[in-house]
């Protein structure tokens, strides 16, 4: 080493301190090395007992995941214990022979098991691999009693998710799956590890952190065969929180029955218009999250994705459909607010309306005769709304559609939501680079043309009309409780906006919607005769899949199903102070009143009956 001590330039005090620093640094490092010696050589034996192959293992203790309940306390999602057999390859000695024995005990094909386990190398050799899951008690007992002959094998209880209401609420509840590398890297999953189960949709995804709790762990000393010798330390797991939803399983069940009876796809949304609570949310067809819980194989997943009916697609939140005649409330409110519709305003419907060289037909071929706003709503006269729409123009229609919440997401807490579409002149210019055509205003005014909205938006908008103009943010999560049911956190209703429409206009439209149900020629007569003499209000709608002109066949039964119109029905009850609003969409369900309304009726009826019996039981309980 070359000489570093040259002639003196550095100040003496600095030199003294540097010499001191050398001593301090050496002293600190000796302390560190002493500590290292203590840990590795003195204490080391604690972790490395007699046998060379004994070692300390950390076993995770998976926290029990919170359950999901409906508003009545019914369990929608639960975890049940599942017994599994694990194997640590580094402890197993002859891996093939051990696998063969285990396979025989749990009645699996040895070849298959071997294929699944593969040839673990490197670090994987030290990690437990899952050999079999979902053992029954008999199989478990057989393995447990022979553990002494099965080096490296251990059994473990792990929770498996169960969804008793899979059919009716799969989209809301979601499902569990192994965390993907993308999710791990996204930064949203701090503290998660590879191999963890995470919620992949719905409430399971939204509240994953709350539901999962905190895993515990234990450090155990194991012998050469991986058997636990001594527990060194342990950390208890903390169970996840329970989630109580605003849904009512009875309404879900009735809605499901209703759809099953039609055999059609579609969606249903039921809200409490007084606060935005979602009472029922259904999308058909559905999928079975139970089959994901045990680990979905690639093939089944690919089948789900390739299904032309798109079962994973949540039609209630993401399905965008032309609103059909349910749109007419927008045209009516625009006309009222812009004073196109004044007292005494009437239109003579002769079955069609002429604009330029084209004739726009009313759905009723021979016309409705002279109609005012009330009759036009009750009988859903197209010609009346053609004229009002033309008078106010498409941009005014768009303004009032947006005021009711169309064209943007409602802000529901769970799930992904589509925005729908509210066309304007500027939108068409942007989207297609074309000018707006007057005739398109007529289509828009009766809910055909470019308009698109989701079942959720429709329910939310009619709820606002029914309650006098308050738009609430729909929500599904009512509260969080701890594992013992003690409330921790509650979601409060949130007012999104007071709709900028006068009370008088809203009242006129409400009167028309009540007439749809209760007056002669009303298209919503199915809603009559609800329990307790409750009156309902509502509107039917038919969303054209192919325009009337292209398909002159008037007899619905003769049109192929795929070309038949979508049926809408939206209703709220009681008509004067609604406590429930229901929107139903039936894909290719034909004319609105006929197919969709009975489903809505069953939901409203059940709701009212439950109200009465729930109240009764409260009174009796007192």
């Amino acid at each position: 080493m070359n000489q570093l001590s040259g002639s003196r330039v550095v100040e003496p005090y600095l030199e003294r301190r540097i010499v001191l620093a050398v001593l301090v640094v050496i002293a600190v490092w000796l302390l560190l090395i002493a500590r290292l010696f203590y840990l590795q050589v003195v204490e080391g034996d604690r972790y490395r007992v007699s046998s060379e192959r004994n070692s300390v293992r950390t076993h995770r203790v998976i926290a029990s995941r919170g359950i999901i309940l409906d508003r009545t306390g019914k369990i929608l999602t639960d975890s049940r214990p599942s017994f599994e057999v694990l194997l640590v390859p580094s402890d197993s000695g002859n891996l093939d022979r051990t696998l063969e024995r285990v396979a025989a005990l749990v009645e699996l094909d040895a070849e298959q098991v071997r294929e699944r386990v593969g040839v673990p190398s490197g670090r994987a050799r030290f990690q437990p691999l899952r050999v079999a899951r979902e053992l029954d008690r008999r199989q478990l007992a057989r393995v447990e009693t022979r553990l002494w002959a099965l080096p490296g094998v251990l059994t473990q209880v792990s929770p498996v998710r169960e969804y008793p209401f899979a059919e009716s609420a799969a989209h809301v509840l979601g499902w569990l799956g192994e965390i993907s590398p993308r999710e791990l890297e996204s930064g949203d999953y701090q503290g998660y590890r590879r191999g963890d189960s995470v919620g992949k949709g719905g409430v399971e995804r939204l509240l994953d952190r709350e539901l999962r709790g905190r895993d515990g762990g234990k450090n155990v000393l194991v012998d050469a065969h991986g058997r636990e010798l001594e527990r060194l330390d342990a950390v208890e797991s903390q169970p996840g929180k329970n989630v109580v939803l605003t849904l009512d399983h009875r309404l879900q069940a009735v809605a499901l029955d209703g759809f099953a009876a039609t055999g059609r796809n579609g969606a249903l949304v039921a809200l409490d218009p007084r606060n935005g609570e979602v009472l029922a949310l259904l999308s058909r067809p559905s999928f079975d999250p139970n089959s994901f819980a045990a680990g979905l194989d690639q093939e089944a997943w690919a089948r789900l994705l390739a299904d032309p009916d798109k079962p994973l697609h949540d039609r209630a939140l993401q399905g965008q459909y032309p609103p059909g005649s349910t749109y007419k409330v927008v045209t009516a409110l625009a006309g009222l607010e812009k004073q196109v519709i004044r007292p005494g305003f009437e239109v003579d419907c002769g079955g069609s309306y002429r604009l330029g060289r084209r004739r726009y037909r009313c759905w009723k071929r021979h016309g409705h005769g002279r109609v005012d706003l009330h009759r036009a709503l009750v009988e859903s006269c197209d010609v009346f709304f053609y004229q009002v729409g033309q008078a106010v123009g498409v941009d005014v229609l768009a303004y009032y559609a947006r005021a009711l919440g169309f064209g943007s997401p409602t802000g529901i807490d769970v799930g992904r939501e589509a925005a729908g579409l509210v066309p304007t002149r500027a939108w068409k210019q942007r989207r297609f680079g074309e000018k707006w055509i007057e005739g398109e205003t007529l289509s828009v005014a009766i809910g055909q043309g470019f308009n698109l909205w989701t079942p959720l938006q429709l329910a939310s908008a009619y709820g606002a009309i029914g309650n006098g103009g308050t738009r609430y943010r729909p929500y599904v999560v009512k509260k969080l409780t701890d594992a013992n049911g003690v409330q921790l956190q509650q979601n409060e209703p949130e007012v999104l906006a007071e709709v900028a429409i006068s009370a008088k206009s809203l009242a006129e439209v409400r009167s028309g919607l009540r007439g749809v149900v209760h007056e002669p020629h009303g298209t919503g007569w199915v809603m009559r005769g609800l329990p307790g003499g409750v009156e309902a209000a509502g509107k039917t709608g038919t969303a054209q899949v192919v325009s009337l002109a292209k398909h002159p066949e008037r007899d619905e039964e003769k049109i192929p199903v795929a070309l038949r119109d979508h049926a809408w029905f939206v209703t709220y009850a009681p008509a004067d102070a609604p406590r429930i609003v229901v929107a139903v969409l039936l894909e290719h369900g034909g004319h609105g009143g006929s197919a969709a309304a009975p489903i809505a009726r069953r939901v409203v009826q059940t709701f009212l009956e439950n109200e009465a019996s729930d109240l009764g039981s409260v009174v009796a309980g007192n």
Binding site: M1, N2, L4, S5, G6, V9, V10, E11, L14, E15, R17, I18, V19, A21, V22, V25, I26, V28, W29, L31, L32, I33, R35, L36, F37, L39, Q40, V41, E43, G44, D45, Y47, R48, S55, V56, R57, T58, R60, S90, P120, S121, G122, R123, A124, R125, F126, Q127, P128, G187, Q190, R193, R194, R214, G216, G217, N219, L232, D233, V235, E236
Partner: protein, 375 residues
């Protein structure tokens, strides 16, 4: 620019005086770090060399070239760049807070094309150059008083606050400790030193109530009382001790540590990389690396002592203090002697910016060493 004379100065005497020992030590420890990363990376199980180790090796190449480049210009010319370099680092820190991406809840990085740089790392060097410049200017004058400490204190506080806001408690602590070390090596009245210590304790109190995150408080409390929360905070420490302890005298061997234990150590490539080393190479391996590391420190202090001017001495002391505090805190934490603070182990932890900073620091030491006769 005075590159000319310096370049000419390279010729004979510089080559003769080339700082071989430090170069060898630094490259040796860094290569141990790369090899150790192969063990510490989760992909190791799949065979082949994991991506993290490759990236670290790439950074070692880049940093090695940068280190040799730093040797070329006479370090005294660097004095003039101290202030602008400091300004640039503070600006980059501010930029990271404004425009940097949020990764794992903190804003520490700037994205430059394919690389992610951490300005707080370069800031360590900037602070060292700046403080060395400040101290050498008043070399020979009487002891410092409070007034003279105010401006340097402010210049230290600015990056500290910015880094704390990221938030990065470990790096803030390191910056403060390096700055504090400079005070120890300056001529300061004893009373003032005592006052500063009191102020330091006071600011810790303030930090406790205003700046520290709950998890950080929890870690400190857990250190004082490990039974508080054996899962959350103490788990790192317990797991790390188990890993190191089970390494025993000779270790488990390369890639043979039962890493299942370390599944509970999410930072095993960065802050807890030393526990992987301890597990696989045992007391012999880990102690050897510590001794090599100690040799770097002592060699650095010798370079400081031999420096021909105060600036060189102070720069060298600053770099050594950076290595000292980083190494002592990190290893102390891994061995359970200190609370868990997020401080990487210089030369060994995974991270390009950190390795680059360490190599640049080593380059400064070599530069000063080689010019001890050139005057």
């Amino acid at each position: 620019m005075t590159w000319g004379p310096s370049l000419q100065g390279i010729d004979r005497r510089l080559v003769q005086n080339f700082e071989w020992p430090l170069l060898g030590l630094v490259l040796g420890v860094s290569l141990v770090g790369v090899v150790n990363l192969i063990s510490a990376s989760p992909e190791a199980a799949d065979g082949g060399i994991p991506a993290t180790a490759w990236r670290q090796l790439t950074w070692l190449g880049i940093g090695g070239v940068a280190m040799l480049a730093v040797v070329i210009p006479d370090y005294r010319t660097l004095e003039r760049f101290a202030l602008p370099f400091y300004g640039l680092c503070v600006a980059l820190l501010a930029l990271a807070l404004i425009a940097g991406p949020v990764i794992n809840g903190s804003q520490r990085w700037l994205i430059l094309g394919p690389v992610r740089i951490q300005p707080s790392e370069l800031c360590k060097l900037a602070l060292i150059l700046l403080l060395a410049r400040a101290l050498q200017r008043r070399a020979g004058s009487p002891a410092l008083d409070l007034r003279e400490l105010a401006l340097p204190g402010l210049l230290v506080a600015i990056p500290c606050v910015l880094v704390l806001r990221q938030p990065d408690l470990g790096t803030t602590l390191l910056l403060a400790l390096v700055a504090g070390t400079f005070v120890l090596f300056s001529r300061v009245k004893v009373r003032l030193l005592a006052g500063l210590a009191a102020a330091g304790i006071g600011s810790v109190g303030l930090a406790w109530f205003y700046y520290l995150h709950d998890y950080q408080k929890e870690r400190l409390l857990t250190f004082l009382e490990p039974e508080r929360d054996p899962l959350g905070s103490a788990y790192h420490a317990i797991q790390s001790q188990i890993a190191v302890g089970s390494g025993g005298m000779f270790g488990r061997g390369f890639l043979r540590g039962p890493q299942s234990q370390l599944d509970f150590l999410p930072e095993q490539q960065t802050d807890f990389v030393f526990s992987v080393l301890g597990e696989e190479w045992g007391f012999f391996g880990a102690a050897l690396v510590l001794l090599l590391y100690l040799a770097i420190l002592v060699r650095g202090l010798m370079i400081a002592r031999a420096s021909k001017d105060a600036f060189g001495a102070y720069v060298a002391l600053g770099v050594v203090s950076l290595f000292f505090w980083g190494g002592a805190i990190n290893v102390g934490m891994v061995l359970g002697s200190l609370p868990v603070v997020g401080v990487p182990l210089p030369f060994l932890s995974y991270g390009g910016s950190s390795l680059l900073t360490c190599l640049l620091g080593a380059g400064l030491l070599m530069n000063i060493s080689m010019r001890r006769y050139v005057f």
